[in-house]
């Protein structure tokens, strides 16, 4: 299995102008990943899947991450044919608010279909070129993206009046009345 540096130079040789950088893992003992420029992500993905030496034919895991300045999608690739991996590639959006498009890798690896839908749903990254981009877990018509770190859950969530509330109210009224009576006694 090639090292991350070798994979980087192989991508640069095969896809001219591919902006590939090594994203170091802060914990030096664990493997590093590759940051791909979104413009040429599809070409890079096709190269990684079809290259004879790499043959990363299996996309295992797609993760959305919410960073303070941008949103990120992380892809974990393995090879079922060569039985090696993982190679981790990641892409950043420009910001968290309006420029949140990333190219979908579903045309290359079908296993991204539901996972990218989930990230669209929970993080709000819009995957361009996805064949069927809809919310996966939240319902249609839901507005926000609950996995974002600044998400605020509505405080009236699933509030339903129950019989218990009425009982509680009666108790409170009675207590207030008793307190009033006591005050009147003390005054007298």
């Amino acid at each position: 299995m090639k090292t991350v540096e070798e994979i980087k130079s192989a991508i640069e040789a095969a896809v001219p102008g591919a902006g590939v950088e090594i994203a170091p893992n802060p914990n030096g003992a664990l493997p590093h990943s590759l940051r791909i420029a979104p413009e040429c992500a599809l070409a890079v993905a096709k190269f990684l899947r079809d290259d004879e030496e790499l043959k990363l034919d299996y996309l295992s895991n797609v993760t959305g991450v919410d960073w303070p300045e941008s949103l990120e999608a992380v892809y974990h690739l393995y090879s079922m044919e060569k039985k090696h991996g993982p190679v981790v590639i990641r892409m950043h959006t420009v910001n968290r608010t309006d420029e949140v498009e990333l190219p979908s890798l579903t045309p290359v690896w079908r296993s991204a279909e539901f996972q990218e839908r989930e990230i669209f749903d929970l993080y709000g990254i819009v995957f361009t070129g996805h064949p069927d981009l809809r919310r996966l877990l939240m319902w249609e018509g839901f507005k926000d993206h609950p996995m974002r770190r600044d998400y605020v859950a509505p405080d009236d969530f699933e509030y339903e009046p129950t019989a218990h509330d009425e009982v509680l109210k009666r108790v409170q009224e009675r207590q207030a009345a008793m307190a009033g009576e006591k005050q009147a006694e003390a005054g007298a």
């Binding site: 802060p26 664990l30 895991n61 993982p86 690896w109 279909e113 064949p131």
Partner: protein, 413 residues
């Protein structure tokens, strides 16, 4: 030239499908793989009747929980199928990001609640990778023993459910549950709970197994081989089962790989990929076992693969119970209080009974994970559900869906 169903024809009215044209891609069964070969090959309606749209679920008895399939039917034939998720969504990942690493351990039990031990194991593995934690020998053996018992009971009950959906209600499922009950009794004795075990810790296991427990486990395992033989004699050559499952729901190997299908589903399509062999995580490279492979990729192969894997699990259990050493079950260097991994990220994965279960963690050095992600095999194995069901009868959809073997706690998280 195949005529594809498109929404412009106005015959289908899925409320949620505004499908772009790229959906009408070429069929999958061609060898040269044109652009979009990995999309469902849509089927044209016969045109001699009206199409019927049926919502199977979320309370259909065959969905094993709250799962919905919106199917469009031409007579009995399925021409479209859309899975709908989210009825059991509780944002497991968000909750886990708001609490300490250890506090999520009992919550992983609730993902795939048929196999809590393997969920614990995958999570413990990811965290141990993140902090570089060693696990003592005896704990590794206990993990293998419990993991294989879990695999055995999962496969047995999933076969039982599959046969029950074919109409054989009762007998095979009760045979499977009889064995599952013995295994759950062992779990209860060791961990205190039949299902919500909360057994593993980062760097070992929570409690040690007594000599008596190991003896009782040996006794149970000695009976499991006979059960597999009995189960196979009962089912494998059953005429109704063969007629209903052979050639139904075929999944091609290249599509299975491309769609990220893992576990018995993948191996039934003939792809030799078992993470126990590939990664050799824990101590799996010490055991002698074979990986069964199917050659048709249909429902029958998936059933047979599970049956054969049960037999291999019994083999692993016998070896592990023979070799288990004495010693501690928690590493002396394991930290419980003030657990703060260094900044970094790790991905740990295991061969869970349903496929590749992975946990991806990003630590920023704090007591909570910055990002906690579950890679759910049940959800990703459903990606190709539509591909497998198109063109089959409604009754077959129930079987094909049953042969995927999912648990909704993991699909919706």
């Amino acid at each position: 030239m195949t005529k594809y169903v498109s929404l412009e024809q106005g015959e289908l009215s899925f409320e949620d499908s505004q499908l772009p044209e790229s959906r009408a891609w070429a069929p999958a069964l061609v060898d040269e793989k044109p652009e979009g070969w990995n999309r469902p090959a849509l089927i044209a309606p016969s045109g001699d009747g009206e199409l019927l749209e049926v919502a199977m679920g979320p309370h259909h008895p065959s969905t094993h929980g709250v799962f919905r399939m919106d199917v469009a039917l031409d007579g009995e034939r399925v021409i479209r199928l859309k899975p709908v998720f989210g009825y059991l969504h509780r944002n497991h990942e968000k909750i886990a990001e708001g609490q300490s690493y250890l506090a999520s351990m009992p919550f992983t039990d609730r993902l795939d609640y048929i196999c809590p031990i393997t969920n614990n194991w995958a999570y413990a593995l990811a965290v141990e990778k993140l902090v570089g934690q060693e696990v003592p020998e005896r704990a590794e053996y206990l993990r293998v023993i419990l993991g294989e018992l879990t695999r055995f009971q999962n496969h047995a009950s999933s076969i039982g459910f599959l046969i029950q959906e074919m109409g054989a209600s009762g007998t095979p499922l009760m045979y499977a549950f009889r064995e599952r009950e013995k295994i759950l009794d062992l779990f209860e004795e060791l961990t205190g709970a039949r299902m919500m075990v909360n057994y593993m810790r980062f760097g070992g296991c929570r409690v040690d197994a007594s000599a008596g427990w190991l003896e009782r486990t040996r006794k149970v395992v000695a009976g499991l081989g006979g059960f597999v033989d009995e189960f196979e004699r009962l089912l494998a050559t059953n005429e109704i089962l063969m007629a209903r499952t052979q050639g139904v729901g075929v999944l091609r190997a290249d599509l299975a790989v491309n769609a990220g299908v893992t576990g018995p589903m993948l191996r039934a399509s003939g792809v030799n990929y078992d993470i126990r062999k590939v990664d050799g995580y824990g101590i799996y490279n010490r055991f002698n076992f074979r990986v069964p492979l199917g050659d048709h990729g249909d429902v029958y192969d998936r059933f047979m693969i599970r049956l054969l894997e049960m037999r291999e699990s019994v083999g692993i259990l016998e070896q592990a119970l023979r070799d288990i050493p004495v010693g501690p079950v928690m590493s002396a260097t394991a930290k419980i209080r003030g657990f703060r991994p260094k900044a970094g990220e790790s991905y740990g994965r295991i061969e869970a009974p349903k496929g590749e279960l992975g946990f991806y963690l990003i630590s920023d050095g704090g007591p909570n994970p910055y990002r906690y992600r579950v890679r759910p095999p049940s959800l990703i194995n459903l990606t190709i559900l539509e591909d497998m069901c198109l063109g089959h009868d409604v009754a077959d959809v129930v079987l094909i869906f049953g042969s995927v073997d999912i648990v909704l706690g993991e699909v919706d998280r």
